[in-house]
């Protein structure tokens, strides 16, 4: 297997684990962690593709943007989670789905 094929296999593995975590997690913080795993898979795919086509610096600059946006979205999600815990007393996605106004 070429390095690109190996990296793509790793990307699919990480995406699969992240998707599984996203499907089975009821805890909101675990949902954020599963999303972080999937973003790392996407970053790895970007860098592996940039390496394969000889445009690694372009891939790095795009991945840098992804990291910035991902970090800010994670920070916002965690701030929301803290507020949800303060107001409702739970972080269970199943309980929160029952809330009405």
């Amino acid at each position: 297997m070429t390095p690109l094929q190996l990296s793509i296999a790793g990307v699919v593995l990480l995406l699969g684990v992240g998707l599984y975590g996203l499907l089975i997690s009821r805890h909101l913080i675990k949902v954020v962690i599963a999303l972080q795993i999937m973003v790392k898979a996407a970053l790895l795919a970007l860098v592996a593709a940039g390496d394969a086509v000889g445009q690694i610096n372009l891939a790095q600059s795009i991945a840098l943007t992804v990291i910035v946006v991902d970090t800010i979205s994670a920070v916002l999600a965690l701030a929301l989670i803290v507020q949800i815990k303060r107001r409702t007393g739970t972080l269970d996605a199943a309980d929160l789905a029952q809330l009405r106004h």
Binding site: G16, A49, L58
Partner: protein, 163 residues
């Protein structure tokens, strides 16, 4: 090559443990995953990105997760929302579809025109990205301040009567 395979398997192990364990342990496994992914970035020829990933992914995000977990406290959750066999089936179908789409196209990948230096890519070629990043960071900071600042307790009846 074998080290590359080992690192990919280690990344999969860290991700798996991050999904299986309790939130605080999961945050630590996520930090380990970030460190492994940073090494992979370095080996693929992206040292600048490896540094950013290590400092942001393994540092900042882990601290923020620990902060959120300490404020929100750990609570035990019962069964998963989606039955585990169904979740596995979805993962296998999605992964299989991704590989089916990607693998045939990989042998056709070829080197293209010469790449510009990283500094030129970031500061000259992708200026719009920089503007968007600044807007996102400022928006995020304002959002967090408004979210976490909204913790004032309702005014007591005595205060209302005084007014």
């Amino acid at each position: 090559m074998s080290l590359h395979v080992l690192l990919l398997l280690l990344a999969g192990l860290c991700a798996g443990m991050a999904v299986r364990t309790r939130p605080l342990h999961a945050a630590l496994w996520l930090a380990a995953l970030s460190a492994v992914v940073s090494i992979l970035f370095y080996r693929l020829g992206a040292p600048e990105l490896a540094v950013v990933e290590l400092s942001v992914g393994a540092g900042l995000i882990t601290v923020l997760l620990a902060f959120a977990i300490s404020m929100a406290e750990d609570e035990a959750m019962p069964a998963a929302l989606v039955p585990r066999p169904f979740a596995w089936l979805l993962v296998v179908v999605a992964g299989g579809a991704l590989l089916w789409l990607l693998l045939p196209a990989l042998p056709a990948v070829r080197q293209v025109a010469a790449d510009a230096p990283f500094v030129a890519q970031v500061w000259d070629n992708r200026q719009l990205d920089l503007v968007v990043q600044m807007v996102v960071v400022i928006t995020g900071v304002m959002g967090v301040l408004s979210l976490l600042g909204e913790t004032r307790a309702p005014e007591s009846p005595a205060v209302e009567a005084h007014q």
